[in-house]
């Protein structure tokens, strides 16, 4: 049998990929792509577009007699409000380690879950917490304030009372 490397390929020569194989492979890859894209689309579903969490803003009235350095914790909230010479500020009581609610102690706050200790202003004194407690945005005046737990401000941001 002679080979015709230089001559034009004959209609009868086997093609590099036969038509049947090509169509078969093409449909296989099309099916794979369709399943893949469908899976990607399905994976998108569990990430909620709107989070069903309750409102993060709340009103609070600070007692007139609140001494400086003494936290005021509104009932049912995990935020401590302070009023001192620089102004009013709100410190989150959610531990930055794993989200437990810290408890007040004589030196500031202690986390019951893994023993992190914080100062009254939220700085880490001890333990696994990687960051200081967050400060939240406070607006308002005259003893009536609105705290927004959804907005974190840099520590040292006071609202002039």
């Amino acid at each position: 049998m002679t080979t015709h490397a230089t001559t034009k390929r004959s209609r009868l020569d086997p093609e590099p990929v036969s038509r049947r194989d090509f169509l078969g492979l093409a449909s296989l890859w099309a099916a794979a792509a369709a399943v893949g894209m469908a899976t990607l689309g399905m994976l998108r579903l569990p990430k909620a577009a709107v989070l069903s969490s309750p409102s993060k803003k709340f009103r609070v009235t600070l007692p007139e007699s609140l001494p400086p350095g003494q936290p005021f914790i509104p009932p049912g909230r995990s935020v401590a409000l302070y009023r001192n010479a620089e102004g009013v500020f709100a410190v989150s009581l959610v531990c930055t380690h794993l989200g437990c609610i810290v408890k007040q102690n004589p030196d500031g706050f202690a986390c019951p879950c893994h023993g992190s200790l914080f100062t009254a202003a939220g700085a880490v004194r001890k333990g696994p917490a990687p960051r200081a407690l967050a400060w939240h945005k406070v607006t308002g005046s005259g003893g009536h304030y609105i705290v927004d737990e959804g907005v974190t401000v840099p520590p040292g941001t006071y609202l002039k009372a």
Partner: protein
């Protein structure tokens, strides 16, 4: 004509129940070697087994029945779990009330819940022990490497099932364990925060949000955990189990030493059942797979029919598992604390016992304890069969007598190292107590957890070098991590009290 057709009809009707049974079991009663074989390979559920089983596989010391223990406890959780679903309602507060109903109103409700919980615990213990058995008998070696990976998948899904089940009662324990778990999922932020890229690349936050469906543990989180617990994870587990069992057979049954036949000797003359029919045939062609059946190159002397030998052994383990779960369920009730209160954490808030070793590590660094070290352990375990390609000692405990000594010295070293680091950290504290301004990244990478892991890794590298054997190093490393796991779990369970302080006994806990 019509008379005989009628009588035939009547006769067929009378015979129908018997014929239904006959057609259900194609080959008749398993009384001969031939029908016993077809009993196994003709049945869709039983044909995961080979028709004949090697006697080595049937020795108790080969497996201690641990794989069947895992499968049996899964079946028990499946049945009791479905029963609990009759009354359980996955909605916050309502969920808690429905568990109360199950406890106090539903007939046998509390008992069923106890069995469910204890079977889940038995399953976790069983999976740990089964994995240790497979490791210490080097049964993960070729051609069983991939089945070891399937087993790792089963291990992870088992733990995930336990964890998702933990939230469902919606009590204080559940709520805070889940809060901690969800924040562990978020803990890669410890790294991204330190690098200052959390705004652009917040994988931790994404993981937490996908898990909870919200930014708090609430109704969205409960329904997700419920879905995972009753649908997605059990399906995944069943699928992986099917592959796992199938591959045991396709990979040639259980691992055994090359000289197993010589060691066992010929079977006793009274081995039941003896060949009763056509003794020159052994009916194991149905089990012929890639030349790895017990028959290749060897006579069938040391195999016995799977029915009844293997099945009776499996049934025995199954009954024993039920007995254990029932006994535990009678002895101790599943706990139910107060209704979840998002404002007051449990103190101490403890995860289920098998996560307390991790929680001990998490108390040093959330990312390393909850994500980093577990990932390293899982990757390390998965690599074992691909790194240890040695041939000697397969199917033997600790690879022979020398291995036993090595494991014993690794136990001593493993215990000493973890105890030394823990005592140091509990007594003297850690970096932040000495250098309050230290960057978080330093603590993330240098903390008691990473220190223990590094000590173990160095020790096993030394063992690899000293014994000139990868298998020896793997034995040392696995043993060390097992010791570390046990010690950390015991510390987390018994010696950590409120604020995760160290206490010798819960009696010393301050009142709170």
């Amino acid at each position: 004509m019509s008379h005989s057709a009628l009588s035939e009809f009547a006769a067929n009707l009378r015979a129908a129940p018997r014929r239904v049974l006959e057609t259900m079991f194609r080959s008749g009663k398993p009384t001969t070697d031939r029908t016993r074989s077809s009993f196994v390979f003709g049945n869709v559920f039983l044909h995961l087994h080979p028709a004949r089983t090697h006697r080595w596989s049937l020795r108790w010391t080969t497996t201690w029945g641990l794989g069947i223990l895992c499968g049996a406890s899964f079946l028990i959780t499946l049945v009791t779990g479905v029963l609990l679903m009759f009354y359980y309602k996955p909605y916050p507060d309502v969920a808690y009330q429905s568990i109360k109903d199950i406890h106090f109103v539903v007939p046998t409700g509390q008992f069923i819940r106890n069995i469910h919980r204890w079977a889940a615990n038995v399953m976790v213990v069983g999976v740990f022990l089964h994995m240790a058995r497979v490791f210490y008998t080097a049964a993960y070696r070729a051609p069983r490497e991939f089945n070891w990976l399937i087993g790792m998948g089963l291990f992870i899904v088992t733990l995930a099932l336990s964890f998702t089940g933990y939230l469902l009662p919606w009590d204080q324990l559940a709520y805070w364990a889940t809060t901690i778990g969800a924040n562990i999922a978020q803990s890669p932020r410890e790294i991204t925060d330190a690098l200052g890229i959390t705004d652009k690349f917040d994988i931790g936050g994404l993981q937490r949000q996908l898990l909870l469906g919200s930014d708090v543990v609430g109704e969205e989180a409960l329904i997700r955990f419920y879905l995972l617990h009753v649908m997605i994870l059990p399906l995944a587990l069943a699928l992986l189990m099917a592959v796992h069992f199938w591959r045991i057979r396709k990979d040639g049954g259980l691992a055994r030493p090359d000289d197993a036949d010589q060691r066992l000797g010929p079977p006793p003359a009274d081995t039941y059942p003896v060949f009763t029919e056509a003794p020159q045939k052994t009916y194991q062609l149905a089990a012929l797979v890639k030349g790895r059946t017990p028959a290749v190159g060897r006579g069938p002397e040391n195999t016995v029919p799977t029915m009844p030998h293997l099945f009776y052994a499996e049934l025995g383990v199954f009954m024993l598992t039920i007995l254990i779960c029932l006994g535990l369920a009678i002895w101790m009730d599943a706990p139910l604390k107060e209704l979840a209160n998002p404002n007051v954490p449990e103190n101490p808030a403890k995860a289920p016992w098998y996560f307390l070793g991790l929680q001990e590590l998490v108390s040093y660094s959330a990312f390393m304890g909850g994500v980093g070290i577990p990932m390293i352990v899982i990757i390390g375990l998965g690599l074992i069969p691909y790194l240890d390609r040695e041939k000697t000692g397969t199917g033997e405990w600790f690879g022979g007598p020398g291995g036993g000594r090595l494991v014993a010295s690794s136990v001593v070293f493993g215990l000493a190292a973890v105890l030394a680091v823990e005592v140091f950290a509990i007594r003297l504290g850690w970096l932040r107590e000495w250098f309050p301004g230290i960057p978080q990244l330093v603590i993330t990478f240098i903390n008691p957890g990473t220190l223990i892991a590094a000590i173990y890794a160095l020790y096993s590298l030394r063992v690899v070098h000293r014994f000139n054997s990868v298998r020896a190093g793997a034995l040392a490393l696995f043993t060390c991590f097992l010791c570390g796991f046990v010690v950390l779990t015991i510390i987390g369970t018994h010696f950590r009290g409120p604020n995760w302080h160290f206490y010798w006994s819960p009696a010393d806990w301050p009142m709170h």
